[in-house]
């Protein structure tokens, strides 16, 4: 039953949400800098971050990569999945069967015509299409799928995939 909420191992530190906001924007900011920014000691910040990690509040530290610009062609599709829910588990068991595939980047339960919105990544359209028909559509209780191939990324995780606008301010103003 790994999809149920696991008990939180330690108390979630209060008064450190600003540290989370800073890390969410830029996970490379050091605990020492965060401490100065929010007026706490470095030890307090380190301890709070450790607790956030242990409690699963901080899930991961990642980098937003523009693979297309890196010259690496990848194919991504958003797959809407209609599922017949089962007594006791709702959609959780099917969602788990799906998110355990490494090809799957994200799985969300959503409202609307379909139930699960799944992001799948592969090296070719063929690979992704095969994954959907062979692995997703064939799952028990999956009633239908609708696959939308990603054509262009404009913004991901809050980061626009364009060059930042240059600073148009004058260098010295009163």
């Amino acid at each position: 039953m790994s999809y149920s909420q696991s008990p939180i191992p330690g108390p979630i530190p209060a008064g450190f949400h600003e540290a989370l906001s800073i890390l969410e924007q830029d996970s490379r900011v050091s605990p020492a800098e965060i401490a100065v920014m929010i007026g706490k000691s470095e030890e307090e910040v380190r301890a709070a971050i450790a607790q956030f990690e242990a409690a699963g509040v901080i899930r991961s530290y990642k980098t937003v990569v523009d693979w297309e610009r890196a010259g690496d062609e990848r194919v991504m599709a958003f797959v809407d999945v209609k599922v017949s829910p089962a007594r006791g588990v709702g959609f959780d068991d099917v969602a788990e069967r799906i998110y355990r595939f490494p090809e799957v980047r994200s799985v969300h339960l959503v409202s609307g015509d379909y139930d699960l919105r799944v992001a799948v990544e592969g090296r070719s359209i063929r690979e992704v299409a095969f994954f959907v028909s062979d692995k997703l559509a064939s799952l028990e209780r999956v009633l239908a799928t609708a696959t939308h191939f990603l054509l262009k990324r404009y913004k991901e995780d809050g980061v626009p995939f364009v060059d930042p606008e240059s600073d148009s301010r004058l260098d010295v103003t009163p």
Binding site: E18, S21, I22, D26, V29, E33, V36, M37, I38, G39, E165, D167, R169, L170, D171, V172, T173, P174
Partner: protein, 401 residues
């Protein structure tokens, strides 16, 4: 040709202008000299303005400003500041606080009237008083008082010609703000000497330490205060040129009289944008204020670490460190730092003689640039201190002394 205006000729050229020319000749500098937010105007505000342009809302507005904007301002002043102003006859929308200041001065001054201007302060105050036919009388505020002007210093500058006190808090360039006891004492001086108070509160939302007290909120002060505020700093809307003044009807009517003949109205697209900002902009403002506060903490901590003494400023987005430890004057420091390390600051003397020994650093710039600026300034400090024979705290700590 006959001579130009004597009043204009008598106003000295801006100290910032000279520095601007020095800086603009250089490439690849990190500028801490910028007096405006590094954020772009929040998108919802820009989007609202685009909508208004598409629908051709590009005509003149009422002289006093769009009624909907004045109503929004009145609600904002009541909701956030507890100030009650009637949008029909006590609020005027202006072309930046710059125009509001000019109107305020011209509305109250007769030739030769004196206006008390605490320094260091914004570069426009003294010239604007002079252009309005008045005489600026400067009062120094000192580092030992946290650059808060003392009521005693103001009172000592009062003469029978004194007409008004011009205050601004949080202050450009020091970041100092006037706390309640200072404000009450200034109110007392204004009351006893029957003076107007022009209060420029453009940086009020950028207060990090104490809750901002609007001057008209003090007992008896609403009747004698010309309250100036705007959208430039809090909402990152400098280029839109929209601000406002609030004052009792008689004063405001006088300001409107000048404004209707000289300006007609503030830019109307900017006024529409300001309505969106004031109605729906608070969450964005809160995010920007939180960001400035973090950068302030980080930057000021860095300044002190490299030997540029700087108390934590209360507000705005300026740090005003002392450069006395280097043995250089403000101008020498700023020029050397620019030439040797490519970091632009503004000499404190641009904001008044009592700014000697300090430089203004704006932290309205990205964290990466602030870190890089601090690295360069640290190199500069180590080199400068070696020349003058003393050693920075950093060097001392490196050798475990």
């Amino acid at each position: 040709m006959k001579a130009l205006s004597r009043v204009v000729a008598d106003v000295p050229p801006s100290g910032i202008r000279r520095f601007f020319d020095l800086v603009s000749r250089r490439k690849d500098i990190i500028s801490l000299g910028v007096g405006e937010p590094d954020f772009a105007t929040p998108w919802h505000v820009r989007d609202a303005a685009i909508h208004m342009i598409i629908h051709g809302r590009t005509t003149y507005s009422d002289n006093r400003g769009l009624p909907a904007l004045r109503e929004a301002i009145a609600e904002h002043l009541f909701g956030r500041c507890g100030l009650t102003y009637d949008p029909t006859n006590e609020i005027i929308v202006t072309v930046g606080v710059s125009e509001a200041l000019d109107l305020a001065l011209r509305a109250i001054l007769n030739p030769g009237d004196e206006v008390i201007v605490p320094e260091p302060s914004y570069v426009s105050y003294k010239p604007c008083v002079a252009f309005a036919g008045g005489t600026p009388v400067t009062v120094a505020s000192r580092a030992e008082h946290g650059f808060r002007v003392t009521p005693e210093a103001i009172e000592a500058a009062i003469t029978p010609r004194t007409k008004a006190i011009l205050i601004s808090y949080p202050t450009n360039p020091t970041g100092a703000t006037l706390t309640r006891p200072y404000l009450e004492a200034i109110a007392d001086v204004a009351r006893r000497h029957d003076l107007y108070v022009i209060s420029d509160e453009i940086y009020d939302r950028l207060s990090y330490e104490v809750d901002h007290t609007p001057f008209p909120k003090l007992p008896g002060m609403r009747d004698r205060t010309l309250y100036l505020n705007g959208f430039s700093k809090a909402y990152a809307m400098t280029g839109w040129r929209v601000a406002y003044a609030a004052a009792p009807p008689e004063i405001l009517d006088a300001m409107v009289k000048i404004h209707q003949y000289t300006m007609l109205c503030a830019p109307v697209v900017g006024q529409h944008a300001a309505i969106e900002a004031i109605r729906n902009g608070e969450p964005q403002v809160d995010l920007m204020v939180a960001d400035y506060r973090r950068r302030r903490n980080l930057f000021v901590d860095g300044l002190n670490r490299i030997g540029l003494e700087c108390p934590l400023p209360d507000g705005a987005f300026y740090a005003f460190p002392s450069v006395r430890a280097t043995g250089l004057s403000s101008e020498q420091f700023a020029e050397k730092l620019l030439n040797e390390e490519g970091v632009a600051t503004v000499p404190g003397t641009a904001f008044g003689e009592c700014g000697e020994g300090f430089v203004r650093c704006s932290y309205a710039t990205s964290l990466e640039k602030l870190r890089e600026a601090l690295d360069r300034m640290e190199r500069f400090m180590i080199r400068t201190n070696r020349v003058c024979g003393c050693r920075s705290p950093v060097e001392r700590s490196m050798t475990n002394e």
